[in-house]
């Protein structure tokens, strides 16, 4: 039965996230935008509170550490972990994207662990804060071109290489590293390894200075003969040229809607604040007259709201499909493509509409316009999402449609 409302049972959690955004994140938003590499100590307390919330929830709560594909059961529709996480994170990012990204134990590495780890690994890493290290100086979107190597040596692997753009790479307890076990076997040989903080041979070499999301640390990490036990390899050790990469990529089906949700959060913040400020000027976009009979300013607001609502629903749809065991690769990419570009457009448009007020640091609008850019880049750029969608629609391989 078609219903596109946020389910009642999730409203408690959504409200909780909204309270957090307003009372924890917003008051310190500007502070950590300015103090780029300082750790937001307020978040430890908040993480404890959030663990309490999650553990109290009957179905285990939300968060990237719990994302997984649901099982297909046509008799009963589920609104589960993926939807909960998406809705909760959108609210948190309405508070602050950077702070949401640096929430302990909510790293993308946690999503990878949740998706593919075995029971033994889950017991060791399940409660650790895990970052994800894919990008290298010579490869970004082309993650199949990873050069970092993992060479088997007895019961260990020895990792060598350099990773950049590792979100929470300095603060996390562990890093999930993508490395190839055999450069000659192409992308099928790419495996992911959990490397714990303090492992000899792993070193954080640099912290990036960025356009936005400054509260979140973005690290470069180098691996020099870094020895990791074989038991830290996530997924199957065997190199299967037919399946290979697919397993590693699967994580993205769950995490892309999550990034889309972040985009929706920051765009919502911008639109809400812009409407408030415009109202003080006597401009009330209240849907009374169609855009073509309204002022240009009102028409712009309607445009933003329509795009935002579309992005929001696409994101919930992708999460809903994951919860119900429906293959959602294309829908995950659609949500990420739409939400990423929409959030960037909206936050910039709000700055433009409000003039000096939007541009100066007295308001957070200029910050949101900086923060939002990353959401159209990481976890697959706009262009990568379009490639995925187009290949799927046109029935093309990555060799044909490059």
């Amino acid at each position: 039965m078609i219903n596109l409302e946020v389910p009642k049972k999730l409203r408690v959690l959504v409200n909780q996230a909204r309270q957090t955004a307003d009372n924890v994140f917003r008051p310190i938003s500007r502070k950590y935008d300015k103090a780029e590499h300082d750790y937001p100590i307020e978040l430890d307390m908040f993480a404890a509170i959030m663990d309490g919330m999650n553990d109290a929830l009957e179905d285990g709560g939300a968060g990237s550490g719990k994302l997984r594909q649901g099982t297909k059961d046509s008799s009963q529709i589920q609104n589960g972990i993926n939807m909960t996480t998406v809705l909760g994170l959108a609210e948190l990012c309405r508070g602050d994207v950077g702070l949401s990204l640096t929430m302990p134990r909510q790293g993308l590495g946690n999503a990878a662990i949740a998706a593919v780890a075995n029971d033994e690994q889950l017991s060791r890493f399940g409660n650790k804060w895990a970052a994800m290290a894919i990008t290298e100086p010579g490869c970004g979107s082309d993650s199949a071109a990873v050069r970092t190597s993992a060479i088997k040596d007895g019961d260990d692997y020895i990792i060598n290489g350099e990773k950049i753009f590792v979100t929470s790479g300095e603060r996390a307890d562990a890093v999930v590293v993508w490395a190839t076990v055999d450069k000659n076997l192409g992308k099928a040989a790419i495996k992911s390894f959990v490397v714990e903080k303090g492992t000899p041979g792993m070193e954080v070499t640099r912290l990036e200075k960025k356009l936005g999301i400054k509260a979140s640390d973005t690290a470069s990490i180098s691996f020099n003969d870094c020895r990791v036990p074989r038991a830290n390899l996530l997924g199957s050790e065997e190199v299967n040229v037919d399946k290979g990469f697919a397993g590693v990529m699967q994580t993205f089906d769950n995490t892309r809607p999550v990034v889309a949700a972040m985009a929706i959060g920051v765009a919502t913040a911008s639109v809400e604040r812009t409407k408030e400020l415009l109202k003080k000027q006597g401009i009330d976009a209240n849907y009374k007259r169609p855009a073509k009979l309204s002022s240009q300013l009102e028409a712009e607001v309607y445009q933003m709201e329509a795009e935002l609502e579309a992005a929001r629903l696409l994101t919930i749809k992708a999460a809903w499909m994951a919860d119900n065991g429906q293959p959602n690769s294309m829908e995950a990419s659609i949500s990420k493509a739409k939400a990423g570009r929409t959030a960037n457009d909206i936050t910039l448009k709000c700055v433009e509409l409000l003039g000096t007020v939007g541009y100066c640091e007295d308001e957070l609008l200029e910050k949101w316009a900086r923060d939002s850019k990353i959401l159209d880049i990481f976890e697959g750029t706009q262009q990568i999402q379009q490639l995925i969608i187009a290949r799927r629609l046109l029935g093309k391989s990555s060799n044909e449609l490059k």
Binding site: M1, V24, E42, F46, A56, N79, A310, W320, L393
Partner: protein
């Protein structure tokens, strides 16, 4: 959302955590532990409280436990069946007529009579008057999308009468329903149309120049309406007019004296044979005002009437956009340039991807609005935003459909130029249809 007690607590906890003394004296860890335990307990209580509240409610009304209201995009079995049959009708019975109908700007002769087999009129008509008594905006939206996938302007023609049925079933009083609805259940097609649009730039549905006045016999109505479908073959019209300072709808038999239909072909919608309806002091009886003497909760709502029509146009725009995408995918795969299919070029492939993204966007906005309408919830904002988005995106898709076909798209060898023209009406029209 105002700060609640939990929000207040969170704010305090955060300020506590940032206090330098807390770090200095090693208070952070123990405090975090307390915070965890307290939150877990408190949160469980909140949940339990909610569960209890829900239980109580159910006991009070002694009803069967309602299915949990979850976010859900699955169609009911019935909706799926209707969709399948409408889609195949569109493919086999509508598509083949579209080209000639557009070229000649003529409604295909047997279209409306044949479309009777879809039974679209029966859904909404109350059971005691011979229908199924299932007025469902959500299902109507699905039907409209699939018909327009067949052809946009022929879908307008087919949906015209059922839109009148939907309107009278929703707002007509008992007398009006009894005198008009059974006519739509007869074997032969009974044709009807809704007339709202007026021929002036910046037309505003709120400021109608068509006016009605009360007199001894009932009402008189005068004005001019445009983009009215069915070539003057309609037997009944629903005409929007200003009456006593409010916007109302009047039931106007087509054989009324002073009513003239003049053909006036447009850039698109040609297969629906649109024209101008002129009403010159048309005398109507006392029962002509839609929903007259209805109790407050069943009273006619002009805003809803307009929103519902916009949603119907949105559904049709989505169907037409989907048709364009379905047509373009094989084309760009088969068309070779520079030694490979043009779909291997990102500039082409990304346009295809964007069409898909925006069609999905439009569809979800429409579904949200239509399902709220169906449940009797306020849906004005949703309809407003859906209409805004569909206007923008479907017209863009119409334009890009021609562009992707290149010079061929500009010719009548392909249907893209028709979609290009038909989809423009999204930015123009109000009324005409009703979910």
């Amino acid at each position: 959302m105002p700060t609640d007690i939990q929000g207040l607590g969170l704010g305090l906890a955060s300020r506590f955590a940032a206090n330098p003394l807390v770090r200095k004296y090693g208070l952070a860890k123990p405090a975090e532990k307390i915070a965890y335990a307290a939150t877990k307990k408190g949160f469980q209580l909140v949940q339990k409280g909610m569960a209890k509240k829900n239980q109580n409610k159910q006991k009070d009304i002694k009803a069967l436990p309602a299915p949990a209201a979850l976010f859900d995009l699955s169609l009911t079995e019935e909706q799926q069946m209707i969709r399948d049959s409408v889609k195949s009708y569109a493919e086999n019975n509508i598509r083949p007529l579209a080209l000639a109908a557009d070229e000649n700007a003529t409604l295909p002769e047997s279209l409306l009579e044949d479309a009777q087999e879809l039974g679209l009129n029966y859904f909404a008509i109350p059971e005691n008057l011979g229908g199924a008594g299932q007025l469902s905006p959500m299902t109507s939206a699905l039907v409209a999308e699939d018909l327009a996938w067949g052809d946009f302007s022929l879908a307008y023609a087919i949906l015209s009468s059922s839109s009148v049925v939907n309107t009278i079933s929703r707002w007509g009083n008992e007398q009006q329903q009894a005198s008009w609805l059974p006519k739509f259940c007869e074997e032969h097609a009974y044709n009807a149309a809704i007339a709202v649009q007026e021929p002036q730039p910046l037309f505003n549905t709120e400021l109608l120049s068509t006016k009605a006045k009360q007199n001894k016999k009932g009402f008189t109505i005068s004005g001019t309406k445009s983009l009215v479908p069915l070539a003057g073959n309609a037997q009944l019209y629903l005409v929007a007019a200003q009456f006593k300072g409010k916007n109302q709808v009047f039931i106007v038999p087509a054989d009324s004296k002073g009513l003239i239909f003049e053909s006036s072909p447009a850039m698109g919608l040609r297969g629906a044979e649109v024209g101008t309806l002129k009403l010159d002091k048309v005398q109507l009886d006392k029962h002509a005002l839609l929903g007259i003497n209805q109790p407050q909760h069943k009273a006619f709502n002009y805003q809803t009437f307009i929103d519902s029509s916009h949603l119907n146009w949105c559904a049709m725009a989505i169907g037409c956009s989907q048709a364009a995408l379905d047509y373009l995918i094989p084309y760009v795969n088969e068309r070779y340039a520079f030694g490979e299919p043009i779909s291997h070029r990102q500039s082409v492939a990304f346009m295809i991807a964007n069409m898909k993204i925006e069609i999905e966007s439009m569809r979800l906005l429409l579904w949200k609005a239509a399902s709220r309408f169906e449940r009797g919830e306020d849906f004005h904002r949703d309809a407003f935003l859906a209409h805004h988005l569909c206007m923008d995106k479907s017209m863009e898709i119409g334009t890009n459909a021609v562009q992707l076909l290149g010079g061929h798209g500009f010719t009548k060898e392909h249907p893209a130029e028709r979609w290009y023209r038909d989809l423009r009406v999204l930015a123009i029209i109000s009324g005409g249809l009703q979910l």
